[in-house]
Amino acid sequence: MNIEINTDYAIKYGFKSAEDYVFKSEKGLTKEIVEKISEMKQEPQWMRDFRLKSFEIFTQKKMPTWGPDLSGIDFNSIHYYVKPTQQKVKSWQELPEDILKTFERLGIPEAERQFLAGVGAQYESEVVYHNIRKDLAKQGVIFLDMDSGVKEYPDIVKKYFGTVVPPNDNKFAALNSAVWSGGSFIYVPKGVHVKMPLQAYFRINAANMGQFERTLIIADQGSFVHYIEGCTAPVYNSDSLHAAVVEIIALPGSRVRYTTIQNWSSNVYNLVTKRAFAYENAIVEWVDCNLGSKVTMKYPSIFMLGEGSRGEILSIAFAGKGQTQDAGGKVVHLASNTSSLITSKSISKDGGRTIYRGLVKVAKRAKNVKSNVRCDALILDEKSASDTIPYMEINEKATITHEATVGKVGEEQLFYLMSRGLNEAEANALIVRGFIEPVAKELPLEFAVELNRLIELEMEGSVG
């Protein structure tokens, strides 16, 4: 039986609600729109200046000259700011009905009831719902949308905002810095361990929409936090743009884990800059699962600034029909006794292309660095392709290893499973699940189940 992937996506995530907005900016981007966004958000002068400077940089920066084809992006046909409701609410029932329905269908409130410590939901440009458990709030954990963060904690935000990913980092970081809206602001005080994950959910509903959320996470000394984000969008004919920026500051001795399960519809350009600073003995872990989207370019990176810090990047990429997943990771060792581990698993099918693009850099005077990179790619049919492009820049004695393999599903494995009564598609799906297991097992149970289900969906109807 053949099931089209996109029709399935359409049933589960691809529904769209009526576009009934409080404010929707004109198509295209001008200085006036940037000013308008800042004005509507009643921002302080410094943020307004930051946006305008970033807009300037955006107009000057060139598109990347490497990587996948981005010529389909028309910056003039995008709505840069769409405000769905007048204000965000603290209980689901207060949400406007169409938005409520959307998130009920996606299963967010259930997730919150079951096991989340806090949850934020972003619809178009604005965070519409936000909640955090009372016991965490009492311990001083801050989990807000970024806009509220700017208003309520200006000192912390001003100190860190834009320091990890400066606006001139790349064109899309500049764009985000100019028009950002929503995203999460998290501060975990010294020594506090947030035992349950904090979650945010990002949803694009309008056509030709650009979503530019901005997330800033600060883990103070000795603290721990796990943040999970999920992303979806309906299926439209015209393309949408998602250009987020995520900044993490892991202060000495802290540990931050950031998990992404993105499942954008196949008309979204997903161009995200994610970067973390790890100070003395801090640990930063990116768990990045990339399904869906038209083109994804995303290389979570970790700058190890403090001695003894550690970085880990786990990445899964699945490219189906017409999709390019250009993903990977970057680790930059700037201090001694630091270590890093990158594990990448990519799967391409139905003409999709996966690309692992990575960097391991060891700076001069960073002694005793260890780094291990392992990337594996499965190509499921003859139309599909996979590239591996790892850069290693080693300026000090260090121990660096890199391994990569590309191949197809083992015929013997297939034969064995089929001899046990599975059909070819089932056997393939099982082997793919086994292939991604090293990454999937790092996810919380509910998300691992969700990921497996998504992979199964993608694998349905696949033979060979």
């Binding site: 003859e382 391994e403 197809k408």
Partner: protein, 351 residues
């Protein structure tokens, strides 16, 4: 310079198309910037100086069982418009092309000294052994085209002068069922580039084993491009290097498997030892795979001497220098060129 190019062309009695090819490339050379792509991004080319460039060649070829071809029309297929400034320069000013037909277990020895801008074409009909020995100085661009229908063994030993800039590029067209066995040892030069681009056809095999050793301020720029054109093509590459003092290296190794090249089997490994705190190594081992029924694997390591191994050898009575030298020798054991001269150079370099 156009005058000088005209002189070369007239002296060699070249056909008009070749003279035009030279002129066109000279214009390209003048308009192009120094290359900055992934093959070159870690190579500091700021010392390259084109103001003293003169067409020249000082090579000495000894052959056994070979015919020399004089008609440049036979190499027309292998003269492409340059993709970068250096290629353009050599396309413009290369001296008379050396065209060699190798038959019946041929043997070819080529020695380079002083400066060279040359193109060499070797057609291997059955079996051939080809030895390159470089003792050059100054600026050199050497491009060798190997068209292999049988089995070719190539050994490259470079012990050029300390000031030399060497751009040494090989293009191997490995025809159906043919085999290239390529070994290299690089020890000399200030900037030393070795590029090996292999096009591997049906059932053909590309095997490369090589080593480089750098000290003082030497820089190695090594590129291997293995392109699988057809089914069941095989590729196996192992490159090892050690860097002492302020030496640096850049290795760009790519495996490309075309859609038609199902059942390809490709392997690439590069290992670099950093012997000094000031040495630097850069590596980009890349894969571009467009077929699904293939095996493609690469591995890369950049590491330092194992303290425990040194400690063990010290405890057996060796001094530190001897211990380090022994470990480095062992590291290179599986890529050494089987040649007495090479062995002597390695020993001298390492100790």
């Amino acid at each position: 310079m156009i005058e000088k190019i005209k002189n070369i062309s007239q002296k060699n009695k070249e056909p008009n198309w070749l003279f035009n090819f030279r002129k066109e490339n000279w214009r390209l050379f003048e308009s192009l910037e120094l290359p900055k792509d992934d093959e070159w991004k870690y190579t500091d080319l700021s010392i390259t100086n084109f103001s003293h460039i003169q067409p020249s060649s000082s090579l000495n070829i000894k052959t056994k069982n070979c015919l020399e071809e004089k008609d440049p029309n036979s190499i027309k297929d292998y003269l492409f418009l340059a993709k970068n400034k250096f290629e353009a320069l050599n396309n413009a000013i290369f001296s008379e092309p050396k065209i060699i037909l190798a038959k019946n277990n041929a043997k070819i020895n080529i020695e380079f000294s002083k400066t060279n801008f040359t193109k060499i074409f070797i057609f291997v009909e059955d079996q051939a052994e080809i030895n390159f020995s470089l003792n050059s100085s100054g600026f050199n661009i050497i491009q060798t085209f190997l068209i292999i229908k049988g089995q070719a063994t190539v050994n490259v030993l470079d012990n050029s002068e300390k000031d030399a800039v060497i751009i040494n590029e090989f293009f191997a067209d490995i025809k159906n069922n043919a085999k290239l066995n390529y070994n290299f040892g690089l020890f000399g030069g200030l900037i030393n580039r070795l590029k090996i681009e292999s096009q591997i056809s049906l059932n053909a095999e590309n095997k490369i084993k090589g080593m480089f050793f750098g000290n003082e301020k030497q820089h190695y720029n090594i590129v291997t491009n293995a392109i699988h054109l057809e089914e069941a093509s095989v590729n196996d590459i192992l490159v090892k290097g050690a860097l002492n003092d302020y030496a640096t290296s850049s290795y760009f190794g790519s495996i490309v498997i075309n859609k038609r090249a199902q059942k390809a089997d490709s392997y690439l490994a590069d290992h670099v030892l950093l012997l000094s705190e000031n040495a630097k190594a850069n590596s980009i081992p890349s894969l571009k795979i467009d077929a699904n029924d293939v095996k493609a694997t690469h591995g890369a390591t950049i590491s330092q001497l194992d303290e425990e191994q040194i400690f063990y050898l010290l405890s057996r009575g060796l001094n530190k220098k001897e211990a380090e030298s022994l470990i480095v020798q062992a590291f290179f054991n599986d890529v050494k060129i089987n040649n007495q001269d090479a062995q002597k150079i390695i020993e001298a370099k390492i100790s």
